[in-house]
Symmetry: D2
Subunit: 271 residues, 4 copies
């Protein structure tokens, strides 16, 4: 039973420590959520209850991982920003991403079951699975552009889905007819279809659908100090950790693409 | 809303494609399971119901991922062996490990809740979280030694825990007294304590506790063919996939360290 | 001058330790050798003296790095095979590849200058530069196919170049006319052009040109022992090192694509 | 000769594209330069001619690679800073570092042989070899601290070597006696030994020895523009390349640890 005889196998293990002083974004993404939404009978184009489960789960992730400064969610994905001096798991990539994928899975399952006592998640129907990836960004401009990219994606998808399901549910088209109708159309064409055929002004659609969900840890002040983080004492690091844990976690449905005020009023996001 | 203006952020994404023609082992590991076992009141030293939940969850992982050839579990960890020609997710490391961590989390939560209707997993108590890592091994000897290493670890831990909890539960020692008693002892000393003080012959303990759990996809024949896998047609690959999906998944509690028969009788494990 | 205040910058350094028990191939490749061959006035299609400089340089690399088991060179590239238990520089990728690129550069420069006292390498004309890359292969079949790939490449290039320069030097075509003539031709077409227009039987061309150069460390027996390499004592490792250093380094121009005898008679290449 | 049958081996090749928008520092380091300095009979503690060869070689590297903004050299090492938007070789790590190690080797060999016609580099004596590594830094503060770290290292080493060789060459100590004398001494102790025993005021030693060598591409203005580099047209990129190629390359021996003026007057270094 000499364990040591086999210990050499550890030499094959590899770690990727993410570059220090860079912003880490972890994006979790639902696997097979198209089918998941059918099996659990989501409302179309947007199921408010399902979105709330996603948002509740993401908030739980933020609560449990105090290094998360903000998060952005839309459709079946959520992106979490970790502060650039985050030392969680010594910045080991595999540890970080599996923590997020697993915790998101656990929290989603929990909140779903609480909200749907008559439509519980079961193995026979389909389990929830989230994959995750980590990306590091060396400066905050790219981080902002990352979140703008996701919100632009939300807009494009939601406008499409809103029009598609209007054509199907209100216009009586089959899904493939709706697809054909929208093939090659621009944003303004979809707006026009919504308005002229169904009297829907897209601008009046709920912000939650159009903008997705922004979660912010409202720290309220810059985390940066004159002391470089590598010189902070353990006591100072603990104080920082405490500040993060105590900060309120708030939820918004607002523009983060052009609204500089969102970013300017929260200097700690880049600190 | 020009999404394309922000698309450059994708250049920061990195992928690690695991080396082709190597065996991939993914190990999932419970996070904070010591506290989990306290919160959900596990029997000590081994909680049969909790072990069954682990094993049920791992079997579900095997069912859903047909490239898994075998798995080995003990304590709060499970290791899954993927066949060396596995092309799942194009062998992208992040995709693979988050799939395993998330699916294990989902399946564990499901089976736990089914088995413990009066002790459901809740956020207030504690959610289940599994991390995961992938390691590649270039030849099957190292793969065998990897699994031997985990089973040797199982033996060492279980002998310790069995003795420790005998001292506490039957011997009336405090946990710190039990710890002191065992400090520096060898295997034979623990066997002696168990036998002389508590009349326990460790050899008679349940195999499930002593050996952990081995799950095998009983394919029944070598997967290797004269044709190198990169030359297989799509049809041949589909046939292979079908063979994997149809193969029975069986559970054992047996020695895999010295029992060469286990390995010799299953040539497909290395193919 | 407190150096320690700045030492934190070391945290940004990354190492890639190449997977243990895999074959490492390092390929060096001349940078800008097309222009180099013009500046230093190489004979076309093959400059025997320049090939000899390459081969001499590669042999020096083999002499200085005893873990090299064989090498294969053609055109301005050379591939070196390191034995699978090689521990040079702890298998750190950056150390390994820069050692090969630098040593090849040094040796090439030295041998060139010795062979061409009236055509020395100078900065004004052009310096020699080799890049290098490392690739790991998990089994010896892929290693063989790697070398076969390079020799097949040699054949294709040399047949093309031989025909191209026959058209230019003997046929009086301009280089662009020769290019057009060969565009879209198959091997048999080039053989036909050589034979019918210039009376050249390609099969009779020198083996050095057609096959490239194979360098073998003729160890003479398998390096493998019953003891796994991780269990070898330092003394055994030193003995192995001595065997490698003493083994004769020989040069061949022969087929390694279909000639199984080459491989079968040298079991140590895979050990 | 079907090359394509073997082409699958390319799947084993891996590339590490260095993170965009980060500063790349490549450090080349002489291999076995202690022995090199003995074989080629360097003056001790500093051989001016040998330092000049290093500096000439490094300048040639700067000339040939226009993305190098500055370099710092001391002892047998040189560090090169590439601008953060450098796209050389698509930022492939292996290509980059082997280019530097090879080019440094070529240029060093050339300049050495020009300067030492009676002490040429030969294989029988010893070839020049440089290894190289690349490190990326996400912000310019760390880049500055990196160069400060190397200059602090230069100071520590040079003070030691100056004292050591004074003890040996002027004080008549053996090298091991000198080593013992210096064991455990602080900077002020070494200064005191130099002054009291040998009348040497360390402050009056040549700047080249005390500070090492700084090479700057004197671009003269910031390279940054309002347009993010990913949006620059090819024409703008070519113009930038031309600016870099035309900029004068100058050599200094000065403090870069505390002299903020050095950095402040060269805004392009961080751009």
């Amino acid at each position: 039973m000499a364990k040591s005889r086999f210990e050499y196998v550890r030499e094959f293990e590899r770690e990727n420590h993410l570059l220090p002083q860079t912003y880490i974004v972890v994006r979790v993404d639902g696997k097979g959520f198209h089918r998941f939404s059918q099996v659990y009978e989501f409302d179309k184009p947007n199921d408010i209850e399902a979105i709330r489960v996603m948002n509740d789960a993401a908030q739980e992730v933020c609560r449990q991982i105090p290094d998360v400064l903000m998060a952005y969610g839309q459709s079946d994905e959520y992106s979490f920003l970790l502060r650039k001096d985050c030392r969680l798991y010594d910045r080991r990539e595999m540890k970080l991403i599996t923590l997020f994928s697993s915790l998101m899975t656990s929290a989603y399952t929990y909140y779903w079951n609480v909200a749907h006592p008559n439509n519980l998640i079961t193995i026979d129907k389909k389990l929830v699975v989230f994959d995750a990836r980590a990306v590091v960004y060396p400066n905050f401009t790219v981080v902002q552009d990352y979140f703008r990219w996701r919100q632009a994606d939300c807009h494009i998808n939601n406008l499409y889905n809103t029009t598609f399901w209007a054509l199907v549910l209100k216009g009586g088209l089959s899904t493939s007819e709706a697809e054909q109708t929208l093939s090659g159309t621009l944003s303004k064409d979809k707006n026009e279809i919504l308005f002229s055929r169904f009297g829907i002004n897209y601008n009046n659609e709920p912000e939650m659908f159009k903008k997705g969900t922004v979660i912010v840890r409202e720290v309220g002040k810059s985390l940066a100090s004159d002391t470089p983080v590598e010189d902070l004492s353990n006591r100072q690091l603990q104080r920082l950790d405490k500040v993060m844990r105590k900060a309120e976690i708030k939820v918004y449905h607002q523009d983060i693409i052009t609204d500089e005020e969102f970013w300017d009023s929260r200097p700690w996001l880049s600190s």
